[in-house]
């Protein structure tokens, strides 16, 4: 078990990707706090996976501070912080309201800022007691290249990429590693919502046909699972990644390694 003795907090910890990360961390022997808006997160069913649930809106500073106070009291340190909470607004800038824009940044950027900021004392405590602490942010391949009709999402993820490098520079000397995982298409409630949303076009295809068409564009001919992301996050959180910091780790089945595929 790679994470034995470590304490981790995963935001969005009851959502698609966050839940898989929390489950993996538990299997690797970590004590895990799963922070989310509700115990069921973005999934309908409430699945108590053994993680300690923290009811928290990442954009609410008071709630974030309360969560870190609880970790301080119960564990005295935090080895791993995963900022997986995120939302996407499926609109161009023309159709995006100011409220939607602000909400995107509040969750995807401000949330990453607030949880990291208030976790720093706990992360320093972990680093002082042994191996480097690890922050893992969630960027996206959309932070490099744009999907249509996802303007605010693309912008927030680009901001997370830059913030990741800045945090790695600032807090590396304190023994805190900071990386971002940049997923491509991952089978989550967010992706299913994207398929059924107005932005997906669809061209008269069924959801199944649309999903197959999307798979076919990937060099690996499939999109990823939350467990694929958890595999990388687990490595970045572990001491095997002790020299890894300040990097953006794209995990997209080769999607962004290719140029546009014309239908020739």
């Amino acid at each position: 078990m790679k994470l034995e003795g470590k304490t981790a907090l995963v935001t969005g910890g009851r959502g698609g990707i966050g839940r898989a990360i929390a489950a993996r961390f538990l299997r690797e022997g970590a004590a895990v706090y799963a922070a989310d808006l509700t115990p069921g997160g973005s999934l309908a069913a409430h699945d108590d996976d053994g993680s300690r649930f923290v009811q928290m809106n990442v954009a609410d500073e008071t709630a974030v501070q309360a969560a870190m106070a609880r970790v301080q009291e119960e564990r005295g340190k935090l080895d791993i912080l995963v900022n997986a909470a995120g939302i996407e607004i499926e609109k161009t800038i023309e159709d995006t309201t100011l409220e939607e824009w602000n909400r995107s940044f509040a969750v995807n950027c401000t949330g990453t800022f607030l949880t990291s900021k208030h976790a720093l004392p706990l992360l320093r405590a972990a680093a002082a007691s042994g191996s480097p602490a690890s922050i893992i942010n969630f960027g996206s391949y959309d932070g490099f290249i744009a999907d249509p009709g996802l303007a605010a999402y693309c912008a927030t993820k680009g901001a997370v990429h830059a913030l990741t490098r800045a945090m790695a520079c600032d807090h590396g000397p304190e023994g805190i590693r900071v990386n971002a995982v940049c997923p491509g298409y991952i089978d989550t409630p967010m992706l299913q919502s994207f398929f059924t949303g107005e932005g997906s076009g669809g061209g008269g295809k069924t959801i199944d046909q649309l999903q197959q068409a999307v798979r076919d564009v990937h060099p690996m001919r499939t999109y990823g699972t939350p467990e694929d992301i958890a595999n990388l996050v687990n490595w970045l959180a572990s001491d095997e990644a002790r020299y890894a910091s300040g990097q953006l780790w794209v995990l997209d089945g080769g999607l962004s390694a290719q140029v546009q595929q014309m239908k020739l």
């Binding site: 391949y141 290249i145 999907d147 649309l210 140029v259 595929q261 239908k263």
Partner: protein
């Protein structure tokens, strides 16, 4: 560019020819080359050398011809290139030799020929890379790799031979040349293929050789005096967009 002497490799057609025409129009003295005979429609003012850039002797001869005709060579545009549409598993030794000799060794030969003089009187090298050197076009393995090599060499020349020499690369996207026309003609449904390909270009059209010549002219000018070691993409926004655009399915 009236004070300048320019060598443009592969200037018989396509992107190279557009750069020849543009630099000529801007007042430069232009020397170009190709493996075949002088194109009949090449303007009289342009000096043509039948030459293969993969040969160091031909590269030296090209430089001598330019100096003899016009004086010191101030600009070099490495445009000559070939593509072989195969995967690694399908590529022969001859394929390797063809692609690497023209696309890599040819650029090396030309740069090595002009750099001693350029390091004295100053100079400007523009390489034609490709978006395929950044992300892969399928079944173009050796071509993709050769263009990534061009991007790497561009940075090395800029670092090693500044401040006298500036060196940059242009990464064209889909430029409508004879090569691209042939690709569409072979599609199952050429009209549908064309519409799909256009939808992947945010500017709503394919590139023209003149679009690349415009960038080359800027990189050759003093407007870009502080630009060196860069690779600029000119692709109508194609690579800024995800290859997975569900609206197109």
């Amino acid at each position: 560019m009236s004070q300048h002497t320019v060598i443009i490799t592969g200037g018989s057609r396509g992107i190279g020819r557009a750069i020849v025409d543009r630099f000529l129009a801007d007042g430069a003295s232009v020397v170009t080359c190709g493996r075949g005979a002088r194109p009949e429609d090449l303007p009289d003012a342009v000096v043509w050398e039948t030459a293969d850039v993969s040969s160091p002797q031909d590269a030296a001869r090209l430089l001598s011809a330019a100096k003899h005709a016009f004086g010191p060579v101030t600009h070099l545009v490495n445009n000559a290139g070939v593509q072989v549409e195969k995967t690694v598993a399908g590529s022969s030794d001859d394929d390797w030799d063809l692609v690497m000799n023209v696309n890599c060794r040819g650029v090396f030969n030309m740069c090595r020929a002009v750099l001693p003089d350029m390091c004295g009187h100053g100079g400007n090298i523009i390489n034609i890379g490709s978006i395929s050197g950044m992300a892969a076009d399928p079944s173009m393995a050796l071509y993709n790799a050769s263009k990534a090599w061009v991007h790497g060499l561009t940075r090395s020349i800029a670092v090693d031979h500044g401040p006298k020499v500036r060196c940059n690369a242009i990464r064209p996207g889909w430029i409508m040349t004879a090569m691209a026309d042939e690709a569409f003609a072979l599609a199952d449904d050429p009209d549908k293929a064309m519409a799909d390909a256009l939808a992947r270009h945010p500017v709503g059209r394919f590139g023209q050789p003149e679009d690349i010549a415009n960038m080359a002219a800027w990189l050759a000018s003093d407007q870009s005096a502080y630009v060196s070691g860069e690779c600029f993409t000119v692709d109508g926004g194609m690579t800024a967009a995800s290859p997975l655009n569900p609206g197109l399915f």
